[in-house]
């Protein structure tokens, strides 16, 4: 009998890809040191086997608690088992805390979450865009993982675990999704730059359409004139607001105007 190697040996999944995959630090919360890999840190290589190993450790906690082990002790023992299984792979070693890593994984066995902080890139027309992203979800399985932009504190997308298991999801699909989100952001930026240049009055809004958040502008070019409806994504005119809708719109504008004049 030997200790600490889970029966299913999930970490053997590391070697499923031939390409080298960058450095990473894996933090198991409560564990005194960081597990570092120089070559298998890319999320396309490490995310799935680490999630599987963390899930096994998480299941172990529940099993030990059912057998009467104190939860605090079960979490510690399970974290030790997970760390040992990582160290079985020769690319992993222990390092002190406090260093920044290209890819960072945080396993919270007590809270049951896995957080990945990484940087993706997408190349379009020989221009490369970098995206710092966080992916967080439940270790327990069945739920969605949330992809966030930590700089803007915005959600880029929610994704099922099955998709995260697809080959090259992070470097391919997710990077492209980040690029799309950035382009939308840039379009918003261009809208910002055009404020007041050609409008007498303007109202901006986000309208949910078929699951997408579409930026829309209502713009009145001349005083007393009609209101244009503009698709903020492409700066395209898409219609004119019906006359009967102008009255409530004017009421909203008057209320805001009054607020600002008296504040």
């Amino acid at each position: 009998m030997s200790v600490a190697e889970p029966a299913s040996r999930p970490m053997q999944g590391f070697r499923r890809s031939e390409k080298p995959g960058g450095a990473a630090g894996v933090e198991i919360l409560g564990f005194p040191q960081i597990l570092f890999t120089r070559t298998f840190g890319d999320p396309d290589m490490l995310f799935v086997p680490l999630l599987d190993a963390a899930r096994e450790a998480h299941d172990t906690i529940e099993r030990l608690c059912e057998r009467g082990e104190k939860r605090e002790n079960a979490v510690m023992l399970s974290g030790m088992q997970l760390a040992s299984s990582l160290l079985r792979d020769s690319s992993f070693s222990l390092v002190a805390r406090g260093l920044a890593h290209d890819n960072s994984y945080t396993v919270d066995l007590e809270g049951g979450t896995l957080l990945v902080q990484t940087r993706l890139f997408a190349v379009v027309s020989r221009r490369t865009s970098f995206f710092k992203v966080e992916i967080v979800g439940k270790i327990g399985g069945g739920g969605m993982f949330v992809v966030r932009n930590p700089v803007q504190n915005s959600v880029i997308m929610q994704v099922e675990e099955d998709k995260l298991r697809l080959p090259n999801f992070f470097s391919g699909t997710l990077a492209q999704e980040c690029l799309r989100a950035q382009m939308e952001q840039e379009r918003f930026g261009r809208i910002e730059e055009s404020v007041g240049a050609q409008a007498n009055q303007e109202i901006r809004m986000i309208v949910p359409v078929a699951g997408n958040k579409v930026p829309v502008i209502l713009r009145q070019k001349d005083e007393g004139g009609s209101w244009d409806i503009v698709d903020g994504r492409r700066q395209e005119w898409v219609g004119t607001l019906a006359r009967e809708m102008e009255t409530p719109l004017q009421a909203v504008l008057a209320a805001v105007k009054d607020l600002f004049e008296h504040k």
Partner: protein, 151 residues
Amino acid sequence: MADQSNVKLPAAEMASVHQSERREERFALNFDVQVSGIDSEGSVFHFTVQTRNVSQWGCGFVSPIELRKDDIVALRVVSPEEPGALQRPAIRFQVVRAEPERGGWGIGAWKMDQDDAWGIELDKVTQPQRAAVEFRRRETGAGKSDEDGDE
């Protein structure tokens, strides 16, 4: 030239220091320790053994079950003379040497946590095993593998 064995690194560095730098004094002290971990079947094991020797950051003992290099185990000093000893927190150790020997596996282990494992100042209880320090220093200087650990 300063005696390297007397150079004290900060605790945070000692926890992850390269093993060739671990030239600590060892003391032939026999602590009763409870060793805990999870075996390959996913079951918790606990067994109690006596240390062969200890240092501030390491210890050696004979395990009745197979432990392998890089296994991580929790050690807790269990001393019948000290009523509160069982309340001591478990300290994580990394197995840095494991060799089969009569009666089990000879284990050298290195402390991972910064907490004090032994609860006493070792050099106030007994004299260090100076020969062992000199031996390890010579071994390391001769380019031996740095994975000898304690024991």
